[in-house]
Amino acid sequence: MVARAVSGEPTATAALLAEVRPGVVRYCRARLGPVGGGYTTADDISQDVCVAVLRALPRYRDQGVPFSAFVYGIAARKIADAQRSAVRRLTVPVDGVLDPADPAPGPEQAAIAADQARRLARLLTALPETQREILVLRVAVGLSAAEVGRTLDMSPVAVRVAQSRALSKLRTLAGRALSGASSS
């Protein structure tokens, strides 16, 4: 399908974009987080990523990299652009800047889950970039360790080592924070 899309076949291109879009949306949401209680900004960026993938598609064959690396490399650059823009405009939170608590949480279970998610997003910002990127690709996008390795140009062993260290650090950092969130 990738080859047919690269050759400019509209049906294959549409199918390919439809296949990658959900992962791109989750990646952008994971990296940028909610802004103003929603994912409008992240979803706008994910749309930009899809357009950028579409534009760059004809060049894919010459790059000799896995398609996931092609897609998420573009996504990472778009995220970086958005963060730089946010810093300039000071209107969009970037990594390390936390969203305020939701003033009007929904049902109790949803509120607990949202609180857990917020706490985790906060903890992720404390991880080194490599470890955070690996967890985003592993958990948010749903890639396997091997796929993450191909995407980030790391060996599978290096990915497993890094993700183990990330989980270890998260468990250490989380401590009572996550336990309290889950038992409240």
């Binding site: 549409a14 004809p58 998610a117």
Partner: protein
Amino acid sequence: MKIRNQGRFPEGRSFEGSADEAAQTRDDAFLDAVTAGTADPGDPLAGALIAWRSTLDTPAPGARRTVPRGRSLATIIAAALGGLVVLGGGLTAAAADAGPTSPLWSITRVVYPERADSRSAELAAQRLLDEAKTAYAERRLSDAADLLRQAEAYLPRVTDDAARDRLTGEITDLRHALS
């Protein structure tokens, strides 16, 4: 254009103090279980990761813009499809405003779903409006009024301001003629 590992993810350095292989295997399986939704939610970290992942799948009503900031939609689509136009040969710049009959319509639906929905609604409203005009010309006034109501029902989905204004004007004119 090199994308991967542009210094963002250095791999050459050693992983001092790394977890043992058994722990790495266990953690890898743990992450697989989280993404599969089969991890023990009683584990605080698993619960948090599952909650985090689930929030990323939450629909965000009205989240996506239909017109990209700072550039016209037509410009964006035309630029985006530029490569395809060259490689595809038969594809033309007219695809920048692709409709359901365009070979690029399937791409528009994926990349700009809201735009595609608006365009579909616009075309449906126009078709019904044309039928209403025909019915009016043939003095089938009841049919014309009914078709006009059906056309109007599509207007809320038309997010293109110019198209919606044009359709609203035509619908208003025909309603006045019918009254």
